[in-house]
């Protein structure tokens, strides 16, 4: 029983890996960007756990900028992915333009809230 579960896990991992290698490059770039944003957010949460939440607005602003931009990048990925039936009629340039505009608004709000 134990051996089959570990073998299943390893098989799953290999399947995922080979499927991922097959994804288009632009989606991989988006994934990398999302990982970077989430990683930055995690560093900030760890720092807050260490030092305390004194300028809470600054903490929220920092974390929100990372999470917000990650969410927007995920939305871009969904809209740009050719395998996604829902957004077949949406031009990828339009999706990218939306992404840029939303990010601009996000960063404006973030800098204001940073204090």
């Amino acid at each position: 029983m134990v051996k089959s579960t570990t073998k299943d896990a390893r098989d799953l991992f290999h399947t995922l890996r080979s499927a991922y290698v097959a994804t288009p490059t632009n989606l991989k770039i988006i994934d990398l960007y999302v990982c970077f944003a989430v990683f930055t957010a995690l560093i900030q949460v760890a720092y807050m756990a260490l030092v305390g939440s004194f300028p809470f607005n600054s903490f929220l602003s920092g974390v929100l900028s990372c999470i917000g931009t990650a969410v927007l990048a995920v939305c871009l990925r969904i809209q740009v992915n050719k395998e996604n039936k829902e957004f077949k009629n949406l031009a990828p340039e339009r999706a990218f333009a939306d992404f840029v505009l939303c990010n601009l608004v996000l960063h404006l709000v973030i800098i204001n809230f940073l204090g």
Binding site: T25, N26, I29, I30, Y33, F36, A37, T40, A41, I43, Q44, Y47, V51, F54, P55, S58, F59, S61, G62, V63, S65, C66, T69, A73, F96, V100, N103, H107, I110, I111, L114, G115
Partner: protein, 437 residues
Amino acid sequence: MMNLSRSVALISLFLLPLLSFSFSVDNPTDRRVLVLLDDLSLKSSHSIFFNNLKSRGFDLDFKLADDSKLALQRYGQYLFDGLIIFAPSTERLGGSLDSKSIADFVDSGRDLILSADTSASDLIRGIATECGVDFDEDSSAMVIDHTSFSVSDVDGDHTLIAADDLVKSDVILGKAKIEAPVLFRGVAHSLNPTNNLVFKVLSASPSAYSANPSSKLSSPPQLTGSAISLVSVMQARNNARVVISGSLQLFSDRLIRSGVQKAGSQNQYEKSGNEQFVTELSKWVFHERGHLKAGSLVHHRVGETDEPAIYRIKDDLEFSVEIYEWSGKSWEPYVANDVQVQFYMMSPYVLKTLSADKKGLFHTSFKVPDVYGVFQFKVEYEKLGYTTLSLSKQIPVRPYRHNEYERFIPTAYPYYGACFTTMAGFFVFSFVYLYHK
């Protein structure tokens, strides 16, 4: 005839302000003293004490205690600055004087020396009780001490005691130490322990007790030991000073001139300590010494000279006050290291000891605490023997304005960094995404 009387009246009108010259804020030593005696022979039997007072510039007015023309006030103005009552057996004072008028006299800030003796009348006891001193209820009791009596006591009943338990205060008893014991013969009194305005200047030794010397003791005496005070002093809250002595003979020439040797001790002194004791005590009670005056409180921010109307929390400020001491003739700068200032709002947030410079200026500097509200600078100085100083000045303290906070908070630098890193990352990402092959 009419012209003469009219010109005399005019001249006396001009002289009247001079005649009513008494102690004032600028010159606190008393001037005119009324001396009430129950027997005019006291003038000669206590001549050393009275001549000493006269030589120091006091105007003594001797009157019999039951003189019907006695008056302390005329038309609402007090005629005297000090009162000496050497009339222990007088039951009723003459003229307009009674214990209430004497209490009013002290309430007005004027000083009193009261002395009882082997017989103290109810009037004298009443005046003493008003000042917080209780004489022994037994009217025939005297202070007896079988170990601290003077060897020159001729009666042999050990009522002439040689006391040396003096209060330790340079301002009351002078800088020079009184070497010889003080001779005392009279009644005992005690002080209420909760009263913090009276204190003992000359206490009896632990072996003294108060009883009738000519009869056998039927029960243990009520007043014993160091609870017996021989000479006490009260400084009222308005800085009037009262000396209450249980012995009139303490002031007499006979005891001043006599030598003293305490029983059981080898030291024999040619002259008792009485003269020095009564002289120094009279200097203190008539405000020749130990009288303080304070200028106004000055405070300002460090680096400025004007007094601001409001402080901000965590401001640095400097505080100073000037205190002078009356030397009998002039105001000298007061030097002490225990004057303190409080920054007070319901309780002191800051309590600092002021440092004195030799010119009477006491100053310090501190940081306003991190609390806002209406504070007071308070200087409350109550040192034994000195007049009380009670000064205060109110000042509000406000919190930071919105633009007085620090612009960038150091703890938040990682968050600032993260935001800008994210923006840079977005910028780089968009380039890479658009132009990758």
